[in-house]
């Protein structure tokens, strides 16, 4: 048996592939993506091992066995790649179990043919340094399976790549690039060249596939492919640290080998090994002890741990509770009842300090309703950022007094981020009379983190709802100017911040590990907020323009064209091409700047409704009519439920047509009213909207 350089390289590649398999499989064995990809990587390791043994063995019958083995591993690599294309990037298996079996069925048939017949590989030969295969008549079958599985897999990935975007697209790019390079290079040395009787390079194939390995590792570190980045970094760091320590005894013993040889002869290395053993034992021994200790404690304090489990399970569900009052009540009641505490309450931050929001248990009426920011308890919680036990504060009179006032044995702070105390829980004595344990504190800490997030979410939604309600209340005012007074610049900005915050949280949804419901809630907040912010923006724009005193001469035809141009992109998105009949001689109209938006608002209402009904018909006719100009805008975006044309006093803000364009109709009506323009709004051909505008012109116009 000879360990030549090829065998050494192939064993090394086997070890590298095996390590990579561990990285892929161990941290992510619960995820199907990692599971299936580990089949692919595992087969790479088997293939490299098969090749290593193929070169390592000297006896022909054994070499033939390993030849068969490595061919089977090769075919399994192709099948696993195809299998992987059905789970990535969706993260869900998109084919049935039977179809999955079908993917691997050819491998089973090939295995039988390889190991029990000479149909595919008849024999092997060894000639000087070169080892190769003598193929049987069925060799083409292996090639077919390999090419079809890889080809189909690549086709599926290319299709997914074309329709993907962002990080997923980048992940797919590196999977495709890495695998394609690997297959191309290894395929050349191990599939194409053997066809022509050239076997001298087959040992290089695993080495060449390191292009694949580099590409995938790059995608793991850069684009979190397979979600094993953290595990990889931890393992590498741990490996380096352990390696550094474990090599020490060897280095010392090697250095002292001549001196040690006197006593231990050639077995000096046993001392190094013993040193490593002791170090490993001292490291793991403590962990083993902790493992058994925790197990024993769990058995002894089953009840307590059970209540902790319930609390932790509940804490993860808390961010889903959207009603803040209900959330606070649930939080306190569950803690008090599950842990068995005499009383509990929660304080939340307000402008001046911390307000009592919910309390339960004995003497709750005597609790302070408000705690100032400067209170020593608040300062302590902000500073230490951890639960505070009463016994820890013994001797600090100011704190002790406050804790007595709060009826608290423990205070649990809730932080959104460093230094930002959003609230705290004050919990009384345990009804069992026992003291709080370290496990209790740990559970409270974890609970407080989730509680802070839930409080922030719920409070944030409440704030948004309040703003929304404020905007709608304001919308009901009879005068648009009154409405503007109520809709301050600040509300618009707060709305934008609410949307911005949702977007930032969504951008980091993977980091925060939000579940789907939280993501959906954030999306809803963002969408609703964006709509409200857009409405406020349009109303404010009207207000700013209508405040300008100067009167300008505006060309009516040009104003219509400019409005169409402003909405051009939106119309294009839904495929609307306006049919226009606009006379060039419509003349000039004396107006203030808000008139520039008059047709824009009418057309925007049409846009929202055409979009809603997925229609594209829109027409605009504008011509001189007696002493004025008549403009008719018609669309097929659903009719108005009521004819509202007669009322130009601003009696209704939102029309009953569409979802978002109501404010535009209202603003158009106010602009019409400001300028003495007649605007009739009605239903057109039963299923469309119609705006008839009559603009009076001055004698010169």
């Amino acid at each position: 048996m000879v360990l030549d350089y090829r065998v050494a390289v192939l064993f090394l590649m086997t070890v590298i592939f095996l390590c990579f398999w561990l990285f892929v499989f161990v941290p992510g064995y619960k995820q199907i993506t990692n599971k299936i990809y580990s089949i692919f990587v595992g087969n790479m390791a088997l293939w490299a091992f098969g090749l290593a043994m193929f070169y390592y063995e000297q006896e022909l019958s054994r070499i033939l066995f390993w030849a068969d083995f490595l061919y089977i591993a090769g075919s399994l690599i192709a099948s696993a790649f195809l299998h992987f294309s059905f789970v990535f990037p969706s993260g869900q298996m998109s084919i049935s179990r039977n179809k999955q079996i079908l993917i691997y069925l050819p491998n089973l048939i090939l295995s039988i043919l390889f190991f029990f017949t000479p149909f595919i590989v008849k024999d092997v030969f060894v000639q000087d340094e070169v080892r190769g295969f003598i193929y049987g008549p069925g060799h083409i079958l292996w090639d077919l399976q390999f090419d079809i599985a890889f080809g189909f897999g690549f086709w599926r990935f290319i299709k997914a790549y074309n329709i993907s975007s962002g990080t997923t697209r980048n992940r797919l790019k590196y999977i495709l690039l890495g695998t394609a390079l690997g297959v191309l290079l290894a395929g050349t040395t191990n599939v194409i060249m053997p066809w022509f009787g050239r076997f001298e390079l087959i040992w290089t194939a695993p080495l060449l596939t390191s292009t694949w390995l580099i590409s995938i590792i790059y995608a793991i570190s850069r684009y979190r492919l397979l979600d094993v980045k953290v595990a990889m970094v931890r393992t590498v760091v741990a490996g380096l640290v352990f390696g550094g320590f474990l090599i020490l005894p060897w280095w010392i013993c090697y250095w002292l080998r001549y001196w040690l040889a006197v006593e231990y002869r050639s077995f000096w290395w046993l001392l190094a090994l013993g040193g490593d053993g002791l170090m490993t034992l001292s490291f793991f021994g403590f962990r083993i002890y902790r493992y058994f200790q925790t197990g024993a404690e769990k058995t002894l304090r089953k009840e307590e741990f059970h209540s902790h489990d319930i609390l932790l399970a509940m804490s993860k569900e808390m961010p889903l509770i959207k009603n803040l009052d209900r959330l606070l009540e649930t939080l306190i009641l569950r803690i008090v009842k599950d842990v068995g505490i005499s009383n509990g309450c929660i304080y939340l931050k307000d402008e001046a300090g911390y307000l009592l929001r919910y309390s339960y248990g004995e003497e709750k009426e005597r609790l302070p309703q408000h705690i100032a920011k400067e209170n020593p308890v608040i300062e302590l919680l902000t500073k230490c950022e951890e639960p505070v036990l009463r016994e820890e504060t013994a001797g600090v009179t100011a704190i002790e007094e406050q804790l007595r006032g709060l009826r608290a044995s423990v205070l649990v702070p809730c932080f959104i981020k460093k230094g930002e105390l959003v609230g705290f829980l004050a919990l009384g004595e345990k009804t069992s009379g026992q003291a709080y344990t370290q496990e209790d504190i740990k559970v409270f800490q974890s609970l407080s983190g989730y509680a802070a997030m839930a409080i922030e979410n719920a409070g944030y939604l409440k704030q948004l709802e309040a703003l929304h309600a404020q905007a709608l209340d304001a919308a009901k005012f009879r005068s648009i100017r009154q409405m503007m007074n109520s809709l301050s610049h600040e509300i618009g900005n707060l709305m934008m911040i609410a949307c911005g915050k949702s977007q930032v949280l969504l951008m980091g949804k993977e980091k925060y590990q939000f579940n789907e419901e939280v993501v959906e809630m954030l999306k809803a907040i963002n969408e609703r907020g964006m709509v409200a912010a857009e409405i406020l923006k349009e109303v404010k724009a009207y207000h700013d323009k209508s405040q300008k005193k100067e009167v300008v001469e505006l060309d009516i035809a040009q104003t219509i064209e400019q409005s169409l141009e402003r909405l051009g992109k939106l119309f294009q998105e839904i495929g609307v091409v306006a049919q226009k009949e606009i006379s060039a001689d419509l003349g000039q109209f004396q107006a203030n700047e808000s008139f520039k938006d008059f047709f824009y608002h009418l057309l925007k209402n049409s846009y929202f409704n055409l979009k809603k009904y997925k229609r594209t018909e829109l027409s605009i006719q504008a011509r001189r009519n007696g002493t004025g100009v008549e403009v008719i805008i018609q669309d097929m975006g659903g009719g108005f439920d009521r004819v509202m044309g007669e009322d130009t006093t601003g009696g209704e803000l939102f029309t009953e047509r569409g979802e978002r364009g109501g404010v535009n109709v209202y603003l158009a009506r106010v602009i019409a009213q400001d300028h003495g323009i007649e605007l009739k709004i009605g239903t057109y051909q039963e299923n469309g909207g119609q705006f008839i505008v009559r603009i009076p012109l001055s004698k010169e116009g």
Partner: protein, 120 residues
């Protein structure tokens, strides 16, 4: 040390939120609530980028940008506005503004625009 951004907006909430977001992205942030304060900080702070609100208590429209240019002719400026006004956009672009960030904000867009203009 990250690149420096001067955030000029009269609304404290916007400054706090946008500033916090940009800080998380690794930028160093200083704030100004009006143009006068911004002009003073331009000299002291030497920002790489200025996010300048179009409407400030002591300046309107392109006036703020003109005065920023007078103090620092080369500093990169992105205008922040709630109203899409093509005339103002052309005017400020002629004065060397790199572009507009419009409200309501799309945070991903802000991140990309700022990164684009601050990359070496």
């Amino acid at each position: 040390m990250g690149k420096k951004i001067l955030l000029v907006d009269d609304d404290e909430n916007i400054r706090e939120f946008l500033g916090g977001f940009l800080k998380e992205l690794g930028y160093e942030i200083d704030e100004a609530a009006n143009l006068q304060e911004a002009l003073t900080k331009l000299g002291q702070y030497s920002p790489d980028l200025v996010l300048l609100d179009v409407n400030l208590p002591d300046s309107r429209g392109s006036e703020g940008l003109k005065r920023v240019r007078a103090v620092s002719p080369t500093v990169k400026v992105l205008m922040v506005t709630g109203d899409a006004d093509s005339q103002l956009e052309e005017e400020t672009k002629a004065l060397g503004a790199l572009g507009y960030l419009t409200k309501p904000f799309l945070m991903e867009g802000i991140q990309k625009t700022v990164e684009h203009h601050l990359k070496d």
